[in-house]
């Protein structure tokens, strides 16, 4: 069923009884060409692009809970392509281009809004690094504008310019950056994949990976064994557990990242704003809630809930940067499980087991990567060679030291990125 | 020959009094960090007793009194506040100028600290003579309970202004709260 304003009008006149299910609830088949473990954003995008780009539809996505129930459903919805280092640069650039066509591609309004991202800097040194990054963005063909203090003031007059502990020197403005409605991304991708014949199987937890002679042959699940020629693992914070089923140990430690939303407010913040000194980022959703977050809680955890000190730190950063939001009230906080790598950049690669592929290590930058990651992972699985946008996301780079992408420069400690 | 005029960390900041609670600076003769080498704790403790009459404290404890006291500040580390000491068997580091020593005394003292430090300050949990390495809002500090309503706080010298600001703000808010009908 095609969605459109006309369809809404038509259905509205007929009691809205004609809307069809957005996806089927298929029973798992005994065998698929490809199994994708994980029905989050990246898994659904992988399924979508396998079907759309490679014509592979004998594919199942196995999700232990509900579709889109992982980090794609609990994040601060920021979409951007503003990285400094090769590897990340071309990947996120490609992902952003996919975002720009995603609604047409999916026939689903994911509310991708290019409202602009402004990264503030607070010293000469930070400015120089922002300039290096901004120039890398333009080298890549993306957009970046270096704002001075007055330039920032024009866009964000409500910041504390008078008495800030860390004065605002300027900002790196990325006009094509923005946000999107997170759940809609998952649903739109799921609907598109389902419509092309991919089986999306919910409440189906993978409990084992079958390997024979160094080759993957299928998976064990809570709904029985399913055979497959190829298996892709895309399970974010749970990567360690699923990889262990195949006898692998990953360069990943799972951490909690909290996010926060206030009660609905009339529009006050147009952009996505980030505060470098406070590890704070904020935007306002179309419903009016201020959506914001900060740093990791810093300790390994699967609890999907945060602790107070970091929550307080985030509120303090908010008050330091933009005291005009002081009277907004925190409505809800939540935590996602982040698959942190030793350099803060992801992995899309083959594994030592033939036919088994992995896409993980998105740290807390996974949302904006959803289409790019799905596209590249689908390409890798379908063609058994990396897509040109993701050639550097190698699993062995930590061992070899080749092509590390440590954007933060904090080194091989998982929680510091 | 010129001579250098000393200036204490809180010279321009203290004393002050809010809501019958006073915040004042103490400038001890010396502050010495004493860190016994391996197996030398007893030797060092004896030496300190001989030198200034206070033994090396157990974790979380202060030994001695106002004129010469020794407060635990970390594993195998204590600060002797009072006369300068140089016991054998320990790494000795002069910290006389490294810390701002602030005392807060009065009915609001404990309440003000309860705005700033996450430790349990209840009387039966943190008694006179107890000391803690902890936080004063975002700063690391050492807090020692001197009496029922009296505490000594050590913060890095460079942060004296922030520490005094934090205490002042806490006291002002408490005073405002007390005035609510």
């Amino acid at each position: 069923m095609r969605y459109s304003g006309f369809q809404i009008f038509k259905q509205g006149l007929t009691g809205n009884s004609g809307w069809k299910p957005v996806w089927r609830d298929p029973t798992p088949k005994p065998e698929y060409d490809i199994i994708i473990i994980g029905g989050g954003g990246h898994g659904l995008a992988t399924a979508h692009y396998l079907a759309k780009e490679h014509g592979l539809t004998n594919v199942a996505v196995l999700e232990k809970g509900y579709l889109g129930g992982g980090n794609v459903g609990r994040n601060t919805t920021i979409v951007r392509a503003n990285y400094a280092l090769p590897g990340n640069s071309e990947f996120y650039s490609h992902s952003l281009k996919l975002w720009e066509g995603l609604e047409g591609d999916l026939n689903y309004n994911v509310m991708h809004s290019q409202r602009g991202v402004i990264n503030l800097f607070h010293s000469d040194g930070q400015r120089d690094y922002a300039a290096r990054r901004g120039n890398a963005m333009i080298n890549q063909g993306d957009d970046a504008i270096l704002l001075d203090r007055e330039g920032v003031r024009k866009h964000l007059p409500y910041l504390d310019f008078d008495n800030a502990r860390f004065p605002i020197y300027g900002g790196l403005f990325h006009p094509r950056g923005g946000s999107a409605r997170h759940d809609a991304v998952a649903w739109g991708l799921a609907r598109a994949a389902d419509s092309r014949g991919v089986d999306l199987i919910q409440n189906c937890e993978v409990t084992g990976i079958d390997i024979e002679g160094g080759r993957v042959t299928g998976v064990q699940t809570t709904r029985g064994a399913i055979r497959a020629k190829k298996v892709g693992i895309v399970v974010a914070g749970r990567s360690g557990q699923v990889a262990a089923m195949a006898g692998m140990r990953l360069p990943i430690e799972s951490h909690i990242l909290q996010a926060f939303v206030t009660e609905g407010l009339k529009p006050v913040i147009d952009h996505v704003v980030t505060f470098g000194m406070g590890h704070f980022y904020i935007s306002q959703s179309d419903k009016g809630g201020l959506v914001f977050g900060g740093d990791l809680d810093f300790y390994a955890s699967y609890a999907a809930r945060g602790n107070l000190p970091m929550a307080e730190h985030v509120m303090e950063a908010a008050m330091a940067l933009m005291p005009m939001i002081g009277k907004a009230q925190l409505l809800r906080s939540w935590g996602g499980i982040m698959d942190m790598t030793p350099d803060g950049s992801p992995i899309i690669d083959r594994t030592p087991i033939e036919g088994l592929y992995i896409d993980c290590g998105w740290c807390y930058g996974g949302f904006k990567a959803v289409p790019g990651s799905g596209f590249a992972f689908a390409h890798l699985i379908a063609q058994d060679r990396p897509h040109e946008s993701a050639t550097k996301y190698r699993l062995d780079r930590f061992r070899t030291g080749v092509g590390l992408m440590d954007e933060e420069g904090t080194g091989s400690q998982h929680n510091l990125h | 020959m010129v001579s250098l005029v000393p200036k204490s960390p809180c010279a321009d900041l203290l004393p002050l009094a809010i809501a019958e609670t006073t915040v004042s600076e103490v400038v001890p003769e010396a502050i010495t960090l004493v860190a016994p080498f391996k197996g030398k704790k007893k030797t060092v403790s004896d030496a300190l007793k001989a030198e200034v009459g206070v033994g090396f404290p157990a974790p979380g404890r202060m030994t001695g009194k106002q004129d010469a006291r020794c407060i635990w500040v970390g594993p195998e580390q204590a600060l002797v506040i009072g006369p300068a000491v140089s016991p054998d068997g320990a790494a000795v580091t002069d910290q006389s100028d490294g810390f701002a020593v602030i005392q807060i005394t009065g009915p609001m003292a404990a309440n003000a600290l309860a705005r700033l430090t996450p430790i349990d300050l209840r009387r039966d949990h943190f008694k006179p003579g107890h000391t803690a390495r902890t936080l004063l809002n975002h700063m690391t500090c050492s807090i020692t309970r001197l009496g029922a309503a009296s505490f000594e706080i050590l913060v890095f010298r460079s942060m004296a202004k922030t520490a005094v600001h934090e205490l002042t703000e806490a006291l002002k808010l408490l005073e405002g709260r007390a005035k609510l009908s």
Partner: protein
Amino acid sequence: MRITCPYCGERDIREFTYRGHALAIARPAPDAGEAAWDDYLHLRDNPAGATQDLWHHGPCGAWVIVDRDTVTHEVAGSKAVAEVKR
């Protein structure tokens, strides 16, 4: 979360910084080989459940090994690294 510093007693986690898995204290020999070093610095069991990790109690300077559950955040115990390694 609250963690017990072996010297200072139970404290709010805001007094601590986290380092990672406690395996960090078992530094391989310089010639242990590529795999051992990769294990040490990068690869993790990343357990969903009981783990041992390393925390630094900033105010007193102690490094602490904490037995903790990554799913429930239950803290089963802690000890000073210096004691473990002695």
